[in-house]
Amino acid sequence: MPHSAQSIIDLSDQLRRDLGGGFRDRMVTAVYEHAQELVSRSVHETGAKKWDFDQRIDRLLTSRWLGLPLMLLLLGLVFWVTIQAANVPSQMLANAFFAFESAAAGMFESLGAPWWLTGLVWHGVFRGLAWVVSVMLPPMAVFFPAFTILEDLGYLPRVAFNLDWLFRKAGAHGKQALTMAMGFGCNAAGITSTRIIDSPRERLIAILTNNFVPCNGRFPTLIMLAVIFVAAAFPPALASIIAASAVVTVVLLGIGFTLLVSWALSRTVLAGEASAFTLELPPYRRPSVLRILYTSLIDRTIFVLGRAMLTAAPAGAVIWILANVQAGGQSLAAHAIELLGPTGEAIGLDGVILLAYIIAIPANEIVVPTMLMCYLGASMMMDVAAYDQIQAVLVDQHGWTMLTAVNLMLFSLLHNPCATTILTIWKETRSVKWTALGGLMPLAIAFAVCFLSAQAGRLLL
């Protein structure tokens, strides 16, 4: 039997040579000609054609002068809604959690539990969880549905269309903009979505740079800093708009870094020019409410929050232990902060922030909670919930300046991806080399940029 199979193969090779080139062209053309005929027989225009919304809207959303401004406006709107709607529920959640924490801790003590158990369980694990839920849940519950509406409408391919020219100049693919949009939710999801890019080179670029889009775990940090430091200087009526603009600026900076790094990669380790780009712009569809709620709340919010809580619980315990185990007259946390201090100072931050980032490697969401828990230390008398209380702690007690805030925003935007994202890079590339590059390159860039910004800031101020 294999003999006869081989003879068929040989014959087909012979026939292929005889047919000459363009075989595929002729076949596809024949199929399409047939399809055209079938359609002419079975599809009729009824003439009852209504206003063609799609084309009108498309001409507006991708127009020469309005396309890009409208895109920024939509992005700003999503952030503004998130900031506006999330602040109050965040405080309410925090108040409720911390009232519960002191009550529960008090009960533990009255039952005669040892001090370390009460501390570990309530002031460590529970506090970590409470922080993550109150800081993250409200913004996510607003941001994800708003974003899913844009996705469901079919707007995202238009973003890729509008921005493709920039990506082409950077040697990358326009669909990278789509994967970045997914990265707003979660960088790991963004990296998985790079599968839509066919060219392996451009897909790798998209994977390695996805981290420069601030994911939902980093938004609370950015929003908090924008509200406390940037918007505080403006009248309250404008505050939320200013805060949203500040976040948009950071996002734009992230897009700038994405393009810059893509460009650099295209000229070094991933040499090549931009390849073919074919992107279908599907018609706009009316979003279905149920589907949006399901996708954004179940698939995204619960998933991301669940992951954050899984890492927050042990992190809370670690912080509590670091803050309460003494060695050589001071706590372990104090030792670590002392050790990291000079490095932190050099890049315009401090030891506590760096320690928070190290503890938060499993998930970026817990950076702010970790930072605050370290600042408050073992005293933990204060239930910090509202932004003005956080401001009091940071500025009055720990000497934060505008420069600290700006550098922290930069560091938060650029630093290494979280452990889940790194694992996803490995799963998608199956290469230690690319995974290492994907982890270390952003870290190096973050340190370099923050160092420069700190030096520049100190010179000017």
Binding site: R24, W165, G272, F277
Partner: protein
């Protein structure tokens, strides 16, 4: 305590040395075997190249090409003779039949890999050769065949050189140097020599690419003037000597009364005539699958702030294409807008 540490260290060391797949010994053997394969394949290619120039390679030329010492070259040649790939003659080294087949397979792997890097990764022409030089020795026969099928059985590599078939047959190219081409007659660029590199870079800088149709406007000992894609460029004859051209057939010429889709203004309609010959590989297949076959109707629908890409209405869908792809699509402009677009 120290003894335990020492023993543990020794044990770890032994494992690192002797582990079956990633141990140092096995890695060393693998490295040796790969180097041996690369050297003998490079030697085969060298001898084949000389044979194509009707010359026989010698031990000296081999040593020079592979940058090996004389004794190492002799050892290599001996081993290759034992494998039955080469025969030493009095005037030099000749390939046996199996040696020639083997050499052609290496050339095939090299040129297919260049094609792959160019089509799939859009690697710049200037970097293809070196990258393929490393890859050609690592590909298995099966991988080469898969690559061939994946690329749609290309006939030529990105430089225009013919790719040997799986059965080792090599199409000959019937081309002459651009310097010898008569003025006025359309010429098809059949091959661009990629060595030496500075000359190759000058050819690329002049905008010349394989499969292009050009015309010599003026020739002389000092300079050559050619028209490329509607624009004139001047090249040094020494550079032009590295460009091989052949007679352009009707199929190579752009279709009459057709324009590039990229030149169609916003809102205009056209009928696809053909996809240009430079549009190859995955990109060509994708355009065909999207319905850009001859006879299809296209309308320029949207343009971005930067003017590129643009979106086209094709068979009831809207598809965005970059200028460099729209350039490859030849269309015949149509006067009236398509029926389905009335009212918008």
């Amino acid at each position: 305590m120290i003894t335990v540490g020492l023993l543990l260290g020794l044990a770890l060391g032994a494992v690192a040395l002797a582990a079956p797949r990633f141990g140092l010994v096995s890695l060393w053997w693998k490295f040796r075997a790969n180097r041996e394969r690369a050297r003998s394949e490079d030697a085969l290619k060298h001898i084949l190249a000389w044979q194509h120039r009707s010359k026989l390679a010698s031990l000296e030329s081999l040593a020079g090409a592979l940058r090996l010492s004389a004794p190492a070259t002799l050892r290599l040649a001996t081993r290759m003779e034992q494998s039955g790939w080469v025969r030493s003659k009095s005037e030099g080294i000749a390939l046996t039949r199996s040696g020639e087949q083997r050499a052609l397979q290496v050339v095939r792997a090299h040129r297919l890999w260049e094609r792959h890097l160019s089509d799939d990764a859009n690697m710049p022409m200037a970097r293809l050769h070196q990258a393929a030089e490393n890859a050609e020795h690592t590909l298995t026969r099966d991988e080469v065949e898969r690559l061939d099928a994946h690329l749609g059985h290309p006939q030529h590599d990105p430089h225009g050189d013919p790719i040997p078939g799986a059965d080792g047959r090599l199409a000959s190219i019937d081309a002459v140097s651009l310097t010898e081409w008569p003025v006025g007659k359309p010429a098809l660029i059949a091959h661009i020599e990629d060595e030496p590199d500075p000359v190759f870079q000058q050819v690329l800088a002049a905008g010349l690419r394989p499969a292009q149709v050009i015309q010599v406007l003026e020739t002389g000992p000092e300079r050559l003037v050619v028209s490329v894609e509607g624009s004139e460029c001047r090249i040094d004859p020494a550079v032009a000597a590295n460009v091989q051209v052949s007679v352009a057939s009707a199929a190579d010429l752009p279709p009459p009364d057709a324009v590039r889709l990229s030149n169609l203004p916003q809102g205009a309609c056209g009928e696809v005539v053909e996809l240009g010959p430079a549009c190859v590989g995955f990109s060509r297949r994708r355009l065909l699958d999207l319905g850009l076959t001859p006879g299809a109707r296209v309308e320029v629908a949207l343009e971005t702030a930067f003017g590129d890409p643009r979106a086209f209405r094709i068979r009831g869908t809207t598809v965005a294409l970059r200028g460099q792809q729209a350039e490859q699509i030849w269309v015949r402009p149509l006067a009236e807008p398509s029926a389905t677009e009335v009212g918008s």
